[in-house]
């Protein structure tokens, strides 16, 4: 099992000008590492909609990579978006599913199918060309560069230990964060 805090630190250390979209239990830890205009916490939004949102950004900004850090519960809430993305796959799109099998921010209540669901199978079945499950730190270190380099839309499933993050409360409000992101992308 991976420690998400270590994974996020390593991801942040390699990150340059990529857009990073975060959700739920990853939003606050990522903001502590990076909280600029290209870091967008998909909070005060709509649970599950980070994946199509990130896809839209990736299609609009083909020269820039979009990295989505999506919870497993969030992924389940908009499962069809895997198919939506895979049918028009942006080459610059990296989706990470942080799999802890719980809704961490409400106290680690189990997600539906927590004992059975297989996200790799779901992503492969949706049509993604590159899908990889990462279970330990050695695998993570080996695959980290691919998060930034692959030339096809890709999904990584990070098998992480549950932690105790509370509900994230990013500032400023989402409308201002959206305005800030648009301005940054307009150059």
């Amino acid at each position: 099992m991976l420690d998400k805090y270590v994974c996020l630190e390593k991801l942040a250390s390699r990150r340059r000008d990529e857009i990073v979209i975060t959700t739920m239990s990853v939003a606050s830890p990522w903001a502590r590492l990076s909280d600029g205009p290209l870091d967008f916490a998909m909070v005060e939004s709509s649970m599950g909609q980070a994946a199509p949102f990130a896809m839209g950004l990736a299609l609009a900004q083909p020269q820039r990579r979009v990295i989505l850090l999506n919870g497993d519960g969030s992924t389940l809430m908009c499962l069809g978006s895997l198919v939506t993305i895979a049918q028009n796959p942006p080459d610059n799109f990296t989706m990470v599913i942080t799999e802890n099998r719980t809704y961490e921010v409400i106290g680690n209540y189990p997600i539906p199918g927590s004992k059975r669901v297989n996200f790799e199978t779901l992503a492969v079945g949706a049509g993604f060309a590159h899908v990889q499950t990462i279970e330990n730190e050695n695998e993570f270190d080996r695959n980290l560069p691919l998060h930034f380099e692959s030339r096809v839309a890709q999904v990584f499933i990070w098998k992480i230990k549950p932690a105790t993050e509370p509900v994230p409360t990013p500032t400023p409000y989402i409308r201002e964060r959206a305005r800030r992101l648009r301005l940054a992308l307009a150059g």
Partner: protein
Amino acid sequence: MIEASAVLEEIRKNRITHVVGVPDNGSRVLYEHLRSDPDIQVIPVTREGEAFALASGLFLGGKNPLVAIQNTGFFESGDAFRGTAFNMGIPLVMVIGYRGYESMKSGSEPVDTAATFFEPTLNAWNIPYYWMLSTRDTGMIREAFSKAAATSLPVAVIYPGEMI
């Protein structure tokens, strides 16, 4: 009757780059026109809520999307609409088919609740909307874009029946 070719022309005039949504019988012909247009990318989604998130990402990335769905899909989109396009302040135009409009007007029973719920929902959510009843009204799309730009919020264009 609304000619899909006239709607497409209006969409082109407004420099739409992407049309996101789910086709239905009302918009099927429009979607067929769109699919053969080299300047507009059509992105089908599996449920309409995705359309609002996807279009919001496109807009923040510098593109000019339009959402085309049926009123039933609009109901499905409730939280996605609220949490993405509305909360993010996206000046998004959505063209929404008014399923059940004729049954409501004729007074026949049973009335399609997709119709009876529709305008009250638009009003409850404070969404401005324009009517497109015939080909002559396709300019309402332009009006909707002006309104959306002025308010930095989503605006609807609603139409009954099936485009030809």
